[in-house]
């Protein structure tokens, strides 16, 4: 327990130690994109649903926040939550459409739906200003904390603790859910849907809930993104956001809590910190992906747990 508190404390203190705008900025993006990967992992790692629609929900969350604040005059926090909720609600018809599809048909359908979302965001100019995007998206509103007073989130250094807090809270929720009856039921559905039916589980009900939560997380991540960079564009819902989250999760280790985070750190953030040339970065990313899937299909967390198991075994003997 103490180690966890220690690690969390360290995470909060990083901006103080590393007084670099660039690094903290990277960390903010890392946290936001990790949320998308975590949302994908909930769907795929636990419930076995290979969805490529996360980009679409991310974009819906971003636009939801933007439009509610700018056109609707909403205050930022409710708008952010509502953006996530809109994405979650839109996941319901997606669920209804896709749940009877198996395997790659399901994946292709979610891919198509993500592309349709991007196309609609481009076409619905009246609502979204189309391909021009919307600039001047306000950052999250300030809050008054006891003892500290007024805290604003207008710049990287002040935004970071907010994102970190939200990230940790969501991670906690995921942990509580997946390590409970809910997570067990999700995994049962993934393992054997027929058997689940025969013990009274309604798979579609649980899949829909899983999708709802996953879409909400992606949507909230999108809202954070919009409030941070101040600009949204149809490509905010680009399908490659979902694909990248998928790749990072698989590399990090599906079905584990930290797998997607580790994967995102290694494949998304580390190359940027090392300042690897962008084109080379993609090349290495692809090579990494192919290597990992060949050599270690259970991802990095799989290697770590095997190593842990081997160490425990040798200690026990």
């Amino acid at each position: 327990m103490i180690t966890y508190f220690g690690i969390i404390l360290v995470l909060y203190l990083i901006p103080e130690v590393v007084r670099s705008d660039y690094i903290v900025n990277l960390l903010v993006f890392f946290l936001i994109r990790s949320l998308v990967a975590v949302s994908f992992n909930l769907l795929y790692g636990y419930t076995g649903l290979l969805s490529i629609a996360q980009g679409g929900f991310y974009g819906i969350g971003a636009y939801g926040y933007t439009l509610l604040v700018i056109h609707g005059g909403w205050p930022t926090w409710p708008a952010w939550l509502a953006g996530g909720l809109i994405a979650a609600v839109i996941s319901l018809p997606v669920s209804a459409i896709t749940f009877k599809l198996k395997g790659h048909y399901f994946a292709i359908c979610t891919l198509a739906l993500s592309l349709i979302i991007t196309a609609i965001l481009t076409i619905w100019r009246g609502l979204t200003s189309g391909a021009l995007g919307i600039a001047g998206v306000p950052p999250m509103g300030g809050i008054s904390l006891p003892w500290i007073g007024e805290v604003s989130f207008k710049d990287t250094f002040s935004f970071y603790p907010l994102v970190l807090t939200i990230f940790l809270l969501i991670l906690l929720v995921i942990y509580l859910l997946t390590n409970s009856k809910v997570g067990r039921t999700f995994q049962a559905i993934r393992e054997n849907e027929e058997l689940s039916l025969s013990v009274g589980i309604n798979p579609n009900h649980h899949k829909a809930i899983c999708f709802f939560i996953s879409a909400m997380i992606s949507g909230l991540a999108g809202g954070l993104f919009a409030s941070y960079i101040g600009f949204v564009h149809p490509m905010t819902s680009d399908v490659f956001i979902g694909l990248f989250a998928l790749a990072c999760t698989v590399v990090g280790g599906t079905g584990t809590l930290l797998g997607p985070v580790v994967g995102m750190l290694l494949l998304g953030t580390l190359p940027e910190i090392l300042r690897i040339d962008p084109m080379l970065r993609n090349l290495l990313f692809g090579i990494c992906l192919i290597l990992v899937i060949r050599v270690a299909p259970k991802g990095i967390m799989g290697i770590l747990s095997k190593g842990q198991g081997a160490i425990q075994k040798s200690l026990g003997e």
Partner: protein
């Protein structure tokens, strides 16, 4: 009133007629066996009863209520448990978790309860844990609680599948070829297990090829051939029935 009563069951798959005007009734406390050559429609009958297939025609009543056409999970919740011809387990979960999942229909805590880990949820999880452990003890698997279900040997797999189906106290348990692939000693142990299940008050219906298993256990036997019921009666009656002998010899 019969516990389970199915009348006039027809099932067509495209052009293939798998079941033709089949009636089956099971009284509480009985152990009924369904036998017949391969492809005679036995598993299809189970699938129709448990909702995995919709009958083309016919009615099915369980405890007096019509269940034909309902989704499998609703029928499971009404109190019918089953195993599958190809043993179905949650391979990547541990043995104990497999059985705990089987208790799903008895749990009432909601997702919110799970999230905040309230008293209702924690009490229920504890009860599930205890019931699951007791069930594993009942089927003789208490030593492999934490093993992953996938690599477990075949007789243990069968017992685990039975445990999953049995743990939620179904009124009717359907076993689809539980003795398939077992050796002589394992079949005897299985027979003893099935007997103790019946003694515990569960009505059992078994599909089986192995006539010895069927004869020693069943109160009643029903014979299917090419989707049609050709005989029904006590094990002794049925084994003397000429139609049955022809059907088996002919295959």
């Amino acid at each position: 009133m019969f516990l389970l009563e199915a009348k006039g069951i027809f099932k067509n798959f495209g052009g293939l007629q798998a079941l033709c005007d089949v009636d089956i009734h099971i009284s509480e406390g009985e152990l009924v066996s369904i036998v017949g050559p391969n492809g005679s429609g036995k598993t299809t009958l189970f699938n129709v009863i448990t909702g995995f297939h919709k009958p083309t025609k016919g009615t099915i009543k369980f405890k007096g209520n019509g269940i034909e056409g309902l989704s499998p999970y609703k029928i499971a919740r009404a109190g019918i448990g089953r195993t599958f011809q190809v043993t179905a387990l949650f391979d990547n979960l541990c043995v104990l978790d497999n059985v705990i999942v089987g208790l799903h229909r008895q749990t009432t805590s909601r997702m919110i309860d799970a999230l905040i880990r309230d008293r209702h949820y924690r009490k229920e999880e504890q009860e599930c844990l205890e019931k699951a452990k007791a069930m594993l003890h009942f089927v003789g698997l208490e030593n492999c609680e934490n093993d992953l279900a996938g690599p477990v040997p075949s007789f243990s797999r069968k017992r685990l599948a039975i445990a999953i189906a049995l743990v939620s106290d179904p009124s009717l348990l359907l076993l689809d070829e539980p003795a398939a692939g077992l050796n002589v000693e394992e079949i005897d142990r299985l027979a003893a297990l099935v007997k103790s299940i019946q003694k515990a008050g569960v009505t059992v219906c078994v599909i089986e090829h192995k006539m010895k298993f069927v004869m020693s256990l069943s109160n009643r036997v029903m014979v299917l051939n090419e989707g049609v019921k050709i005989a029904e009666g006590t094990p002794a009656e049925v084994s003397q029935d000429s139609r049955v002998i022809t059907a088996y010899l002919g295959k």
